[in-house]
Symmetry: C2
Subunit: 352 residues, 2 copies
């Protein structure tokens, strides 16, 4: 059962994502050229603009949901989409700062169908370029020099701190035997909700929206982020590696205490208990890499049997509904509301 009724106009969403990418990428590329060598090259590799040998490439640079949201955010406040561009770029820089550091901390070797930066250019470059992108995000906003840019920067920094808190929680949970559903939702709210929330308010703030409007747009983005992450957690176990660019059973290989897992463990019943026994044994096993596909498939089947998959689909639907509800508490052009709704629908039905 799909998590929402399909009201998504795919062509419309594709156009919105494309607009976000087209309008923000030139500014992003110019900003990245400010970095001292070799960080500029390493960043260009991370974004898929060049390959590992430095040759121009047209690689996958992500779904670009955040830039699309930032431009719509400006329009929600009655401003031109262009007003949201510095916000779109700043949010994308912070997002990619976190990817560079998280991939290193998590030991992830693949991202967007390519080797991760630390694999190709070494851990030091992953750390440095992450740091540089984070600084650059704030620099781009602050050099606008307006009071609204200061407000936008403050929101971005708050979101960045939550992002870091969320990654800290995510790592600490991997070493714990039990994580509650509430703890998992809190972690995901920090790790994914906070920056999506910021993407949804930053354009409006740059366009002069007051804090009430900005906070309500953040509520939309926060719940959209939780829906997004619930879907990510489903894809992290049952996603098609061809579509996601990740390994099969990716989150199980990494012992992620993601929503389907914690919901299954909390559910009770025979499948839940059997899953708990297996994961407790796995926790003592230093090397899950030696597991066969079948061993991961067994765990995935138990998660599903215990209801973890269904609960997570429902959770995506619940968060989607709360997000849409928030949209209706802000006075904005109907076209913009419809487009923000379409993006929310897309987030919960996507396959990658």
């Amino acid at each position: 059962m799909p998590p929402v009724n399909p009201v998504v106009d795919t062509a419309d969403v594709t156009a919105l994502l494309e607009r976000g990418r087209t309008m923000s990428t030139p500014v992003l590329r110019t900003a990245v050229r400010r970095l001292a060598p070799p960080m500029d090259t390493v960043a260009a590799y991370h974004f898929g603009w060049i390959d590992a040998h430095g040759r121009p490439a047209d690689g996958d640079s992500g779904k670009a949901v955040r830039p699309a949201l930032a431009l719509l955010s400006a329009e929600a406040a009655g401003a031109a989409p262009e007003v949201g561009i510095p916000g779109a770029v700043a949010v994308e820089l912070v997002h990619n700062f976190s990817l560079l550091h998280d991939d290193l901390m998590d030991g992830d070797e693949q991202r967007r169908h390519r080797d991760t930066v630390w694999k190709v250019h070494g851990p030091a470059q992953a750390i440095l370029v992450g740091d540089a992108l984070f600084a650059l995000a704030n620099e781009l906003l602050l050099e606008l020099g307006t009071v609204d840019a200061g407000r936008a920067t403050r929101r971005l920094i708050t979101a960045s701190r939550k992002l870091i808190d969320g990654q800290a929680q995510d790592i600490s949970y991997e070493h714990r035997e039990r994580v509650t559903v509430e703890e998992c939702l809190e972690m995901e709210g920090n790790k994914t909700g906070a920056l999506l929330a910021c993407a949804c308010s930053i354009g409006a703030v740059l366009g002069g929206a007051d804090d009430r409007v900005a906070d309500t747009l953040e509520a939309y983005g926060h719940h959209l982020g939780l829906a997004f992450q619930a879907v990510d957690d489903l894809l992290g176990i049952w996603g098609d590696p061809e579509a996601t660019g990740k390994q099969t059973w990716s989150d199980l290989r990494q012992r992620k205490k993601s929503l389907p897992v914690v919901a299954a463990l909390a559910a009770g019943g025979p499948a839940s208990r059997r899953l708990g026994e297996l994961l407790t044994a796995d926790a003592k096993n230093p090397d899950l890499d030696s597991f066969s596909e079948e061993e991961f498939a067994t765990r995935a089947a138990l998660i599903e049997e215990a209801g973890g998959r269904e609960w997570t689909s429902e959770e995506a639907r619940r968060q989607h509904a709360v997000a849409i509800e928030a949209l209706h508490r802000v006075d904005m052009p109907e076209r913009v509301r419809a487009q923000l709704t379409a993006l929310a629908d897309f987030v919960v039905v996507r396959k990658r």
Copy 2:
């Protein structure tokens, strides 16, 4: 020969450093408590407030030159020293963000007579806590909510970007056979000069100083930073491990192309050529850890014989003079000018 004539009143400098520490540490500790566990604990270990087992400690938390400068910076603009406190804390947070990341990138195992964070708490915590301190620095300033706080944040971000550029240059130089004196000075200006410059302007900016005054105070701080780094480079080779808390021949072990090394290589003559031959051979040796103390002593003696030690002492003196000259281009209370002068004197005669 000491690099400056001793006009330092040690008691006065000690009191200034102590005032900076006393006034900024409570705010720093409160700020660090905002971090999600276990980052708060890891940061407390880094700052020396607890030991590796979590027991309260009174460890070395650094010389605290930057907080002392930030408070004097406020006074240079005619404001109370208290006005500089958020700036002092923000600069100290950025400084410690860079230490956490640099120690990991450089593989440094000791800092301030203790094991570094990545050694005790692992690389992921060093990355995360560094990220969190960097974000916190900007958060503390921006939540002041004033236009001057926005200006101060922008200067801090610019300094942070230079800091990151400098670390990138430092790392890339380690893999190059030859680095010019100019490249080394540029790297050190980024890595050390930029944040010291910011410490010297941030209090004044928070106190309402205009950009000309702030820029001139930054010029003082930038040259003070270059003098500081020249002395650091001397201590990195000839420093007393008891005083510095680092290994003997620390910079030589790490193949640092520091000022004494690049100046010696640029000098020409038999000692310079012999040094060049040895370092070229070393560059092909993956493991300098197997070197005896004598092998490092030979290299240090050649650097000295080629004039690298003397040139670096002179450079510290030159930069010190330019810094003092800048101080006289800003209208400020004579007491403050005398104290900034005393701090500059201290920087070039210090043993740690």
